[in-house]
């Protein structure tokens, strides 16, 4: 399969009064054409910052992308999103790459009607007339499941529920038939029944439009029903990546194993105690030169404290950054 996005050695830091925050520490991954890639990790692990680095959405300063590439297979050939000038990046953002944020409350303009916000995106990226944009907006609203789309065209964001606002965000993200949609925790603020509606909508759109998706979440349950492939992030790094079935059946990194063990199982009758991972993630102002999980890892040995493990292939499309897992695999 061809890749549509190739991220290499991404490093992003924040220079703050309290010190340097090492938010993204040498992250590399591929997004294949048409696939849904999930990035899972706990709060502060660098999921959002890595995506915003790629999309040029970080406030600079304090943020600084200190290294790396993000090669995007655009309509007009490959480009490095990190090096792209502001204007060109703005054209791609919302056009060829759509973005859905965690909190639709803050990313919609409160003083513009939702119809206006969607049609402006269409006019800007597709260069169509106001009349055409309005028609297309109404059909997009219908497509994302907003009842009475003609009426809702004139609604302001505050007049909609959280689930509806998230649908509007999705409509904006897919309005210009993007090649990639990046969704940053699009259902975290929603209730399970509404979450199920949104996940369903994404699946439908994916079939209809063949779009590649990056879905950021901390919910390993959600990922199981959604993703083709999964990246596990911790302390600004990728610790493991695998096809979804492989990851759940054959996790290799002690952190992944711990995360899966910490989840209650609905599929068993007995109730064992959950496996808990002691301790907490490291302080992101420390630059770590060894395995970032070593403090919390039951398998840590000398090497784990002396070197940083690199992602190593342990199976088909399965890589892991752990000395213990690598030795075990041999």
């Amino acid at each position: 399969m061809a890749s549509i996005l190739k991220v290499k050695n991404l490093v992003t830091k924040f220079h703050t009064v309290d010190g340097v925050v090492n938010a993204v520490n040498d992250v590399s991954f591929l997004l294949e054409d048409g696939e849904t890639l999930a990035i899972v990790g706990e709060s502060g692990s660098g999921k959002s910052v890595s995506m915003m680095s790629i999309m040029g959405l970080l406030p600079m300063p304090p943020a600084k992308v200190e290294g790396g590439q993000a090669l995007f297979n655009s309509k007009d050939g490959p480009v490095d999103l990190i090096q792209l000038p502001y204007e060109a990046m703005s054209d791609i953002r919302g056009g060829q790459i759509g973005f859905v944020f965690q909190d639709p409350g803050t990313s919609l303009n409160p003083i513009l009607t939702i119809g206006k916000q969607i049609s402006e995106t269409l006019i800007r990226h597709l260069g169509i007339s106001g009349r055409e944009a309005k028609d297309k907006t109404v059909s997009l609203l219908a497509e994302v499941g907003i009842p009475d789309p003609t009426l809702r065209f004139d609604a302001f964001p505050f007049q909609l529920s959280g689930g509806m606002r998230q649908r509007v965000m999705i409509a904006i993200a897919v309005a210009c038939a993007p090649r990639i949609v990046i969704a940053d925790e699009p259902t975290t603020a929603l209730d399970v029944t509404i979450q199920a509606q949104i996940v369903n909508l994404f699946k439908e759109l994916r079939v209809k439009m063949g779009v590649s998706t990056i879905w950021i979440t901390h919910d390993l349950g959600l990922v199981a029903g959604l993703a083709d492939r999964v990246l596990v992030m911790y302390a600004g790094q990728i610790l493991e990546s695998a096809q979804v079935d492989e990851l759940y059946e054959n996790p290799k990194h002690p952190y992944t194993i711990g995360l899966l063990g910490a989840l209650p199982r609905l599929d068993t009758q007995e109730s064992k105690r959950l496996v808990s991972i002691d301790g907490t993630p490291p302080d992101s102002t420390i630059l770590i030169h060894h395995c970032p999980f070593a403090w919390r890892c039951a398998h840590a040995f000398e090497r784990c404290w002396n070197e940083k493990p690199a992602l190593t292939t342990v199976g088909e499309k399965h890589t892991v950054a752990c000395f213990y897992a690598m030795e075990e695999g041999r």
Binding site: V192, I194, H218, G221, A262, L274, T280
Partner: protein
């Protein structure tokens, strides 16, 4: 003979009146809790689940009399706490405690851990001096915190540790009953397990009963003995934890359990989801008849006019639906 339940909640209502209009001359009535009944036995955990705004926190707070009930009764150890005099209620307060959702907002940032943990003991004048110090140490060990952290301030702790501080504080007075309002929602997965295990271990050792409020159904199933499902101010179903998942009778519960993500790709592929249309209506303007009828896939005419009463449909299994147990065809 069956022992009396520790807590018996009977047709509890809490309505809020919100002033509207230019001069606040009119009011909107929000029926946040609208006729809730349940029992809780000593040493038992009852899970309370439902979507945002359905009235879970208000139920917890009204049971503790942090809100004055609009009507209904709450019997704790056979005493009706909705009507007993303040003095007697104060005595009962040491037996009933609460852990709140947000471990960041609910700890006073200027107080040391020791002050926070010992506050209920001090307020009720139960301990002081060396005895108090000893008790705080013991409590910190109980919840897995190093007693040497006693002099530190909340900001020096992680989310999971702060939640442990809250739990130590709630347990300081040896309560029989603790309302846990979303005690793990603000925590990361790996930390959630620490807190849930702690709550379970403490129940085993001390025999505390919990009302465990959460919206994460899989966690609720894991920790609870029985589960109550709320929708728009009412309990629509109540049963044993396996029963709720294996044999949900109310259409809302059926959709809820089918929507919970399962961390297994194989099972996810096999599953049938019941996806509800629309969103929960406002409790300020609840629908007539069954409050669930506008979203219900099996609703018929009677549902639009008659309020279904909660009934014991099967032994120990309660549901409030005219057509309880009717399977939903996949949508």
């Amino acid at each position: 003979m069956r022992a009396q339940p520790l807590l018996r909640v009977n047709d509890l209502k809490k309505h809020f009146y919100i002033p509207t209009g230019l001069f606040g001359q009119e009011t909107i009535e929000v029926k946040a809790v609208d006729g809730v009944s349940f029992d809780l036995n000593a040493g038992e955990t009852l899970g309370l689940v439902g979507e945002s705004g359905c009235g879970k926190s208000t139920t917890g707070r009204t049971v503790l009399k942090l809100y004055r009930p609009t009507s209904g009764n709450v019997f704790f150890d056979e005493k009706d706490i909705t009507s007993i005099p303040g003095e007697e209620l104060n005595k009962l307060r040491t037996r009933i405690q609460m852990v709140f959702q947000d471990p960041y907002a609910s700890l006073n940032p200027r107080h040391t851990v020791k002050t926070i943990v010992s506050e209920p003991l001090v307020i009720h004048g139960l301990m002081k001096g060396a005895e108090l110090d000893e008790r705080v140490k013991e409590l910190m060990e109980l919840v897995g915190l190093n007693p040497s952290y006693m002099k530190r301030f909340p900001h020096e702790f992680s989310g999971g540790q702060r939640q442990r501080i809250m739990i130590a504080r709630a347990l300081s007075v040896n309560p029989d009953f603790v309302v846990c309002d979303e005690p793990i929602s603000a925590l990361d997965v790996s930390i959630q397990a620490q807190v849930v295990n702690l709550l379970q271990n403490l129940q085993e050792r001390l025999g505390v009963a919990y009302l465990f409020i959460a919206h994460d159904l899989s966690m609720v199933k894991h920790i609870s003995h029985r589960i109550a499902v709320m929708y728009l101010g009412k309990i629509v179903e109540l049963a044993g934890r396996h029963e709720i998942f294996d044999n949900p009778l109310h259409p809302y519960t059926q959709s809820l359990t089918s929507a919970v993500p399962i961390p297994s790709p194989k099972m996810e592929r096999k599953r049938q989801r019941i996806i509800l249309k629309g969103e929960p209506p406002s409790p300020a303007n609840p629908p007539k008849g069954c409050v669930f009828h506008p979203r219900c896939p099996i609703a018929r005419d009677i549902c639009k006019t008659e309020v279904p009463q909660i009934a014991e449909v099967q032994p120990g299994h309660f549901a409030a639906c005219h057509f309880a147990g009717t399977p939903i065809q996949d949508t």
